[in-house]
């Protein structure tokens, strides 16, 4: 991701000169400005839920640890309650036994939410083509960013977090496109319709 691209304001795709002007004078509608501010805030204060199961969890510790220090990206407030977090980092192999737990915890997370599949096992089952290993968590939950590696280096994880930040700034999330979210929206609309009637 080039730095230029990230500088462009999500309000409108403007050139860099125009954007520089924007920083002096704000000419926008209130709601789209609020939307921009919300996304900016969200992307820089991610509260990750580490769904750590295996080796990748140890490497995730290194990411939060003193050397790599995820707090430089505003993603260090590790929460172990799904209710308090907006980024799920699935670090490690998900077995068939674990899959319902993963799904349940994902459902417990409040919208908006993003998911990172850290490492080969979470992404695709890795080299465990085995009877008790889920061949990629995308079978059960929508995934935003896949980080390759077994386990990925902390640098790769940090890049994954930056990718998530980009997605947030652009208003993209796998959850929004997932069938569950669409159904939830439909249900809400239906409810509104019935209350209006």
């Amino acid at each position: 991701m080039s730095t230029n691209k990230r500088l462009v304001s999500p309000i409108a795709n403007k050139s860099e000169e125009e954007f520089a002007l924007d920083r002096l004078v704000i000419t926008t509608k209130a709601d789209s400005f609020l939307e921009w501010a919300k996304r900016w805030g969200q992307s820089n204060s991610l509260w990750p839920f580490p769904f750590g199961t295996a080796c990748c969890a140890i490497e995730y510790m290194a990411v939060v640890g003193p050397k790599y220090d995820a707090s430089r990206f505003g993603a260090e407030v590790v929460r172990f309650s799904p209710r308090q977090s907006d980024l799920m980092i699935v670090a490690g192999t998900i077995s068939e036994k674990q899959a319902p737990v993963l799904k349940r915890i994902y459902d417990q997370m409040a919208d908006p939410k993003w998911v990172v599949a850290m490492g080969a096992c979470a992404s695709s089952g890795g080299f465990y083509r085995a009877y008790h290993v889920v061949q990629g968590i995308s079978r059960d939950i929508p995934v935003d960013v896949y980080i390759p590696g077994c386990p990925p280096t902390p640098e790769a994880v940090l890049q994954g977090i930056m990718q998530i930040q980009d997605r947030i700034k652009n208003g993209v999330s796998a959850y929004n496109d997932s069938t569950a979210a669409i159904e939830a929206k439909k249900e809400k609309a239906a409810q509104l319709a019935t209350t209006e009637n």
Binding site: A54, I58, A62, T93, S95, V101, F127
Partner: protein, 564 residues
């Protein structure tokens, strides 16, 4: 047979009718289900085999039927240890599972047989008398027995819903008391359970009255994967057993195969393996102490410990490019030569860690909160042996048993180090033992690196190691050798071995059966924390929940090797 000791002769004269043999430093006895308990009683009481290391099943389906013992398809295999004389014995019991034969349970001799027998039922369908047929590693909706040879390795069975928390009524309490009890579920996704352990507890106030453990949330089918891969391809899988100290698992695996093939690795490879083993022991203990302290609310020591770990990661990175899962060994030696300057770097890191350990020591050892919180859940030496404890947890209970001293492999007999032993067997003693072990490990590394032998890093044995490129390009023999090793892989002779090394958590045993083919026929890992963790329910009974969490950290349960 000539190296057989008096002990072996006694065994032979006693168990000749059950077909006795001696191979790879292991005594082997065949017996049948009817005589099993008599044999076990005799072994335990007369011959002093006081520790049950492992119980596992074997499926003979793919072996020629003529080799089936007594014409039966399955076997239940026991490994026992006599700690005093350092003798190991394997008891093999053929079982006719299809004919409804039931194996008597050895739970009455060793409490530690509990989960091992459950696992044998889960994986092979071997029934043990008086034991409930409960799944252990696979989920409760699983159909079939996964390690049987006719179960496809990639046949997934999705689970619809997790098992619900449930306790039977406790007959020993009054209805009033029962009304005070509550059920609480901890895990599998809970920060204190380190990821994948699940504890279902019945509590009264904050005191745990009964608890049940659910494991298998990280069952990655290691043993089935071994059966479908070549011997050298198994090495990356062993990395992920105890992922806090992967080189030790590599070493354990390669040592087992080398012993089986009778390969003596070069001195340099031995020394390098010792350095790697000891440095990974240090980083394993660092994670255990650091993460255990986090569970008690002491976050600072965790950062200290992890900074030290990072230093070691850098060493590994220089050595092979990977940080955590290194796959540094090969059957027959090491994967590659040390890069230039590595020894100096390593010595520097050792110095740094020495300082760091002293800092952690200042943070925790006399910290009143830490001491008070860890002086809980003691276990006596006899109980520890009965459950099958090994490693720091056993030594903290006061048993001086370390394979590096009892049966020194590589150069452990030539280096000076001491084995710390605790008194009370509580969490604080475990912490002290681990701290001292780290210092001793650093001492070993200094000695070995100071006298690092030169020479090749791989054995020149043609059965395991590819010849130098010059040979491959210039003479036909080298070319053929290269071709055969690449195409057909390492092929140990028909036979079986149980080989144990002292890993960070205790005895890491590999029971490998070879049928002469390119893949192992059957592999059973004896993971140290599997035996330790099964005692958890009993150890934490009538203790506070917060103490149970401390206990979990001190036992150092690593899900990768627990569930495999």
């Amino acid at each position: 047979m000539q190296e057989l000791s008096q002990f072996g002769k006694d065994l032979e004269s006693n168990f000749a009718k059950n077909s006795y043999s001696y191979k790879f430093e292991n005594h082997v006895i065949f017996t049948d289900t009817k005589e099993l308990l008599t044999v076990m009683a005799k072994l335990k009481d007369e011959f002093g085999f006081n520790m049950l290391l492992d119980v596992c099943g074997v499926d003979n389906l793919k072996r020629p039927a003529s080799e089936w013992t007594h014409g039966k398809r399955f076997e239940s295999v026991y490994h026992l240890l006599n700690m005093e004389k350092n003798e190991r014995i394997r008891v093999r019991v053929p079982v006719d599972v299809e004919g409804g034969e039931i194996v008597p349970s050895v739970m009455s001799f060793w409490r530690g047989a509990d989960w091992f027998e459950r696992e044998a039922w889960d994986m092979f369908g071997i029934s043990y008398l008086g034991r409930k047929k409960e799944r252990l590693l696979t989920h409760h909706e699983f159909v079939g027995h996964a390690l049987r040879k006719d179960y496809r390795s990639d046949h997934n069975q999705p689970l619809s819903e997790s098992i619900e928390i449930n306790f039977d009524a406790d007959p020993s309490i009054t209805p009033e008391q029962a009304a005070l009890r509550e059920w609480i579920n901890i895990g599998p996704s809970h920060p204190a359970t380190h990821g994948t352990l699940r504890i279902m507890a019945e509590i009264e106030g904050e005191v745990i009255k009964r608890s049940k453990l659910e494991i298998g949330y990280l069952h990655r089918c290691f043993e089935k994967m071994c059966e479908t891969h070549l011997y050298n391809q198994v090495i990356p899988y062993t990395d992920r057993l105890n992922y806090c100290s992967s080189p030790m698992n590599n070493i354990g695996w390669c040592k087992a195969i080398e012993d089986m093939m009778g390969i003596e690795i070069p001195d340099r490879a031995k020394a390098l393996r010792m350095v790697l083993a000891e440095i990974s022991r240090v980083i394993d203990h660092l994670v255990c102490i650091g993460a255990g302290a986090v569970d008690l609310g002491a976050l600072t020591s965790f950062w200290f410990c992890f900074e030290l770990r990072e230093r070691v990661y850098e060493l590994f990175e220089k050595l092979c490019g990977a940080r955590l899962t290194v796959s540094l060994t090969r059957v027959g030696g090491m994967a590659q030569e040390l890069p230039v300057g590595w020894v100096t770097d390593c010595l520097e890191v050792v110095k740094h860690i020495e300082k760091g350990v002293a800092e952690v020591d200042r943070l925790l050892t006399k910290n009143k909160i830490y001491v008070d919180r860890t002086r809980v859940c003691p276990i006596s030496a006899s109980q520890a042996i009965e459950w099958g404890y090994t490693g720091p947890c056993l030594r903290a209970a006061g048993v001086n048993y370390d394979i590096r001293k009892a049966n020194p492999y590589y150069f452990y007999k030539d280096v000076e180090f001491e084995v710390p032993v605790g008194q009370n067997g509580d969490n604080y003693d475990r912490y002290l033992v681990r701290m001292e072990e780290m210092r001793q490990s650093l001492r070993i590394i200094n000695q070995v690196l100071g006298n690092l032998p030169s020479g090749p890093y791989q054995s020149l044995d043609k059965r395991v190691c590819i010849p130098p490129k010059k040979e491959v390009y210039t003479n036909i023999e080298g070319l053929m050798n290269h071709f055969m090793l690449i195409m057909k892989g390492v092929r140990p002779p028909v036979g079986e071995i149980y080989s144990a090394t002292e890993a960070a958590n205790g005895e890491l045993g590999f029971y490998v059966i070879s049928d002469g083919g390119p893949n192992p026929y059957r592999v059973k890992v004896r993971p140290p924390c599997f035996a330790i963790y099964q005692s958890f329910s009993e150890v934490v009974q009538n203790h506070m929940i917060s103490d149970a969490i401390a206990e979990l950290g001190a036992m150092n349960i690593i899900a990768g090797e627990l569930d495999r």
